[in-house]
């Protein structure tokens, strides 16, 4: 069950994006429970923090967002996963749908409203 202002884990290797995303989403009432810089730390953070939503960057230093999403969704009570990228969703073809993610938000369009739409 996703609450109206769900707890969020931000996974991205760019610090400027993590900082801007945290500030933007918090300003819109979201709770940022944690940040991760790569795939491995993302998996650990999800297990430790149990966020309701994981904002997951597609391009990670150690792996990509699709593999992390697959891994997370295979577990019990998985968080809702929203993939994000500076590229457009169409650049990835069917990969997003097949990854088990709830939705996709282009980085440039990230805000509370687009995140909520992606979670629907």
């Amino acid at each position: 069950m996703i609450t109206m202002t769900p707890s969020i884990l931000i996974v991205d290797d760019h610090p400027s994006f993590r900082a801007m995303a945290r500030a933007l989403l918090q300003s819109e009432g979201y709770t940022i429970v944690g940040e991760a810089v790569d795939g491995a730390s993302a998996l650990t953070a999800v297990r430790d923090l149990h966020p309701e939503v994981v904002l997951l960057d597609v391009q990670l230093p150690d792996t990509d967002g699709f593999a992390v999403a697959s891994e997370l969704t295979r577990g019990t009570d998985p968080p809702a996963i929203v993939l994000t990228s500076s590229r457009d969703a169409s650049d990835f073809g069917p990969l997003i749908a097949e990854s088990g993610a709830r939705g996709f938000v282009p980085k440039g369009e990230l805000c509370g409203r687009t995140l909520a739409e992606a979670l629907e």
């Binding site: 760019h14 400027s16 994006f17 801007m20 995303a21 500030a23 933007l24 300003s27 819109e28 391009q59 500076s86 590229r87 980085k107 440039g108 369009e109 990230l110 805000c111």
Partner: protein
């Protein structure tokens, strides 16, 4: 019983019988003229008896004597049949008819006493059968008294039964057969007489004459009495007298020779004492022995030869038919043999006396005889020589000093067709050879050549070559009176030698000849010497004239300037024999040539001025004319013509062949030049896969020398083992079904070098069809280098593509990680700032300030990216400013030592920019250098880009993608990139063609 006792017994028996007959006749008076019958009967009987006794006494071993005595006794026994007593009558009948057989026997056995011939024996036996045996057979059936023929009263004691008809039949048969036998006997005697020599006839004559007369009378009387019943006494008288004449004849002949020879032996001794000349001895012996056929022969024991008294060698005397040889021997073994009539053996005493007398003569005669025999031997040898000359298959001829023929043997006549009678006394020069005047001159000067070769003309005009052996004939004073020559017909041999010699020299000339002119020289010499010419010229037929190519001359015969004159001549039109022959294309012989340049060039040419010329035809045209000049006016014979025709034919063929060869050689030379200079390997094989052609390129490519591979199996040498079978099958297919993909197309295959190294080849095969099986020529190119280049190019292209991909990937990542991320952040910052603008303007203001900075960095990164894609400054401002920008951005001092003022082609400038940029990046990253220098130079159609530093070195041109990419870029412009790196620094240089 001895012979002598038998003889006396016969004499006594004759006397007894005579007495009995006389008594019987006187008592019976059977005949009306008893006295006459008695006297005639006794005369006949005793004639035979006396002659028989004499013969028996003189020749005890000869049966003539006993036969005549037996004839006498049986004749006398006829008288017994007139005896009135039966016993005496019967005994008389038993022997009465035996005398006739004995008479015939005696005559036929005379004078030897033996019946030597078969016909004589047969006749004798038949006579016995016809007279005596038949009368004995008839005796038991005859009783003369009953026939009324006889008047006496005695009886036949052996009578069985009287058969008058049988007796008459027997008498008739006996008469008939008897007449035949008499004829046969006369024939035998006649033949013997014919065959007898003179001496023998002397002996035979009396007996044969009387015998023949008697036989004739007997026959006549028998025939007469057979037809006339009452014959009377006359036939008996004639018959008896003729019968009595036979022993008279014998006695006459015997006594005559006996008397004559006795005197002759005395004369013989007197003659031998007077002279020992063998001719006189022989004449004396002939006279003494009454044998004109007598010959004396000396036996020479040293040589076992026989010579007659003339000294002539004779055959060993032989005692053949009717001849006998008596040998007169002396102790010193010198032997005289006397060949004489065999009848002389009948008188051994005479023969003995004659030989004894002759032996006296031997002592003096034999030496002289031998000497004479030697002289005769010389004469005989001359005779044999003469016989030899007559029969030998060589010419033998004698001439007197005027050249007239004094002797000509049959072979010369046979050879030339003249008869001996026609030749004797004729002039040799006129008949056989008019040019032999010098022979007579030589004979006159006693200078005749012992051996010479010449010719003669036969009656039919044929010329024969003769080898002569000459000898002069001298009289007793040593003056030459003529000459004899023995000649051998060497026509065939000379022709063969001439032909052989000529063909040999011509063959040598042709074999040695490189050009046709090389043949002409030896040919004229060979022709000239072979045919005894004084000159021979080879004229080449040029369009307008004849040009002398080769001149041979007999230096002794021609004038000094002959050669120059001929070589200077150019006969044209109708001047001379050669031009004529050129015009007709036929050989020609001519004499008395007044317009011929060769003949006229030699004033010494003989009166005949004979010359012969024949054309040499090549390809249907007269190519040359060969002219021979000779004083020999014979002209060419058929043999020579045939030979020269062959020569002309061969030389003509040679000319054609040489021309063809020259054409082929030219083409070969061209081909050879092509082969040698061809860069491609050219290899020709025959249908058996043997290499026929292997050009220098092939030698170079495959590593074999041509001489090592020619004739060998191509597949074994040039094709890798695993492909050889395919090749052989392909060749077989090609031979059976011409065509296929290989012919005329370029295909890539694999070849093998001498080292065993396998390498790629490009191959094109051409089939060359010949009269025989086809040949195949392969044009092979070693494409190892091209393959390597192709591979290099392919890799280079891959690298360039990869480099492009990598560059784009890097650009995308840089954009994504750099400017894109900053723009995303900027976007989020602006959205956040807007949301904070109302609630917290200070915070929003801070965010906007940070966003502005983010935007500046994003722009800077984009510029850097754009510069990496292509340096804009290079395009806008040129190479030098672009390089200066690089130098400025470099973290170490970079000196631009040399940069051309004139712009380079854009691709080369770009390559230069990237070489410098990459090299400086590497210097900054790895070289640890304090200083770097950049040089761009343009010279001799090349642009050289050089970046050197004073760093630690260790650069590897293939190590990183950077330098490899630079090399690709440079090689894409047909340039090369080199990196030299050592402890004193690194120098990267690129050389790019630049027109």
């Amino acid at each position: 019983m001895t012979s002598r006792r038998l003889r006396i017994a016969a004499l006594v028996a004759g006397l007894v019988l005579s007495a009995v007959i006389a008594v019987g006749e006187s008592r019976t008076h059977v005949h009306h003229n008893t006295a006459a019958y008695l006297i005639l009967g006794l005369l006949v009987g005793w004639s035979f008896m006396i002659a028989g006794q004499v013969a028996w006494l003189r020749r005890p071993t000869n049966l003539i004597g006993p036969l005549m005595c037996a004839t006498a006794l049986t004749w006398l026994s006829n008288g017994l049949t007139d005896w009135p007593t039966d016993a005496v009558f019967t005994v008389g009948e038993l022997f009465a008819s035996l005398w006739l057989g004995l008479l015939v026997h005696t005559i036929l056995a005379y004078p030897s006493g033996r019946l030597r011939t078969l016909d004589a024996r047969i006749v004798t036996v038949l006579v016995y059968l016809d007279t005596w045996v038949l009368s004995l057979l008839v005796l038991p059936f005859t009783e003369p008294r009953l026939d009324g023929a006889d008047k006496h009263s005695a009886h036949n004691l052996l009578l069985v039964d009287h058969h008058h008809d049988l007796v008459r039949a027997a008498d008739a048969v006996s008469l008939l057969v008897g007449i035949c036998l008499i004829v046969a006997m006369l024939v035998i005697l006649a033949r013997r007489w014919q065959a007898a020599g003179v001496a023998a006839r002397e002996v035979l004559a009396p007996v044969y004459l009387t015998g023949a007369v008697c036989m004739f009378v007997i026959g006549a009387v028998a025939i007469y009495s057979g037809f006339v019943e009452q014959t009377g006494d006359i036939p008996f008288y004639v018959f008896s007298l003729s019968l009595a004449a036979i022993p008279q004849g014998f006695l006459y002949g015997l006594l005559r020779t006996q008397i004559g020879r006795s005197g002759a032996v005395r004369g013989l001794i007197a003659e031998i004492e007077a002279s020992d000349e063998p001719q006189r001895l022989r004449a004396a012996l002939r006279r003494a022995l009454g044998d004109p056929t007598l010959e004396l022969v000396y036996w020479l024991p040293e040589d076992d030869t026989y010579v007659d008294i003339e000294g002539d060698l004779v055959a060993r005397p032989d005692d053949g038919e009717g001849r006998a040889v008596t040998t007169i021997e002396r102790r010193d073994r010198r032997v005289l043999q006397m060949a004489h009539d065999a009848s002389l053996l009948d008188d051994p005493a005479l023969l003995g006396a004659a030989t004894a007398a002759a032996s006296l003569a031997l002592r003096n005669q034999t030496l002289a005889g031998e000497l004479r025999s030697q002289l005769r031997e010389v004469a005989a040898s001359e005779q044999r020589l003469s016989d030899l000359l007559e029969g030998v298959r060589l010419i033998a001829v004698s001439l007197d000093t005027a050249g007239l023929i004094t002797y000509a043997n049959p072979f010369l006549c046979e050879l030339t067709g003249w008869s001996r009678e026609e030749l004797m006394g004729r002039d040799w020069l006129e008949v056989f050879n008019g040019t032999e005047v010098q022979f007579l001159e030589r004979m006159a000067n006693d200078d005749v050549l012992p051996y010479e070769e010449n010719w003669i003309r036969t009656r039919a005009g044929e010329i024969l070559d003769i080898a002569w052996n000459n000898t002069v004939i001298r009289d007793r004073d040593g003056r030459i009176i003529g000459a004899t020559s023995i000649g051998e017909d060497i026509t065939t041999r000379r022709r063969n030698e001439r032909r052989l010699g000529f063909q040999l020299s011509l063959a040598r000339a042709v074999a040695r000849a490189e050009r046709l002119e090389d043949v002409a020289e030896p040919m004229v010499e060979a022709l000239g010497t072979t045919f005894d010419c004084w000159a021979c010229v080879y004229w080449k037929a040029e369009p307008e004239e004849l040009v002398p190519v080769a001149v041979w001359s007999d230096g002794a015969t021609v004038a000094g300037d002959f050669r120059e004159r001929v070589m200077a001549s150019r006969p044209a039109g109708d001047a001379g024999l050669a031009t004529y022959v050129r015009g007709t294309a036929e050989p020609r012989w001519d004499v008395d040539l007044d317009d011929d340049p060769v003949v006229m060039a030699n004033p010494r040419a003989g009166h005949g001025r004979g010359s012969f010329a024949f054309p040499i035809v090549a390809a249907g045209q007269v190519d040359a004319v060969v002219q021979l000049c000779s004083d020999d006016v014979r002209g060419p014979d058929d043999e020579m013509l045939a030979l020269l025709e062959t020569v002309a034919d061969r030389v003509g063929q040679l000319i054609e062949r040489r021309r063809a060869e020259a054409a082929v050689a030219e083409s070969e030379a061209r081909k050879s030049a092509v082969l040698s200079s061809a860069l491609d390997c050219i290899i020709t094989i025959d249908s058996a896969n043997r290499i026929l052609e292997f050009n220098p390129a092939a030698e170079h490519t495959f590593g074999y020398r041509a001489q090592d591979v020619l004739g060998k199996d191509m597949a074994d040498l040039l094709i890798p083992p695993q492909l050889r079978e395919d090749h052989r099958r392909g060749l077989q297919r090609q031979l059976q079904h011409p065509g296929g993909r290989l012919l005329g197309n370029q295909v890539e295959l694999t070849g093998m070098r001498a080292s065993g190294e396998v390498f790629p080849i490009e191959l094109a095969v051409t089939r060359i069809d010949t009269d025989d099986l086809p040949l195949f020529t392969a044009f092979v190119r070693d494409i190892t280098g091209r393959k390597r280049t192709d591979e290099e190019l392919r890799r280079s292209r891959v690298r360039i593509v990869n480099a492009g991909d990598e560059a784009r990937r890097r650009l995308e990542r840089n954009l994504h990680d750099g400017a894109q991320q900053r723009l995303v952040s900027l976007s989020l910052s602006l959205r956040l700032a807007r949301s904070l603008a109302q609630r917290d303007p200070a915070a929003a203001d801070e965010i906007l300030a940070s966003a502005g900075e983010e935007l500046s960095q994003a722009l800077e990164e984009l510029r850097e990216l754009a510069r990496g894609i292509h340096p804009a400054i290079l395009t806008d401002r040129g190479l030098r400013p672009a390089l200066e920008a690089l130098a400025t951005r470099a973290p170490l001092p970079v000196e631009l030592a040399d940069v051309p003022d004139q712009p380079l082609p854009a691709p080369i400038e770009a390559a230069a920019y990237y070489v410098v940029a990459e090299a400086l990046t590497n210097v900054a990253k790895y070289a640890n250098a304090k200083h770097a220098t950049v040089r761009i130079m343009r010279a001799e159609g090349q642009a050289t880009i050089e970046v050197s530093d004073d760093g630690v070195g260790g650069a590897n041109p293939l190590g990183g993608t950077g330098l490899r990419g630079l090399a690709d870029r440079v090689e894409a412009l047909d340039g090369t990139l080199a990196v030299e790196s050592n402890g004193s620094g690194t120098c990267v240089s690129a050389v790019i063609p630049c027109e």
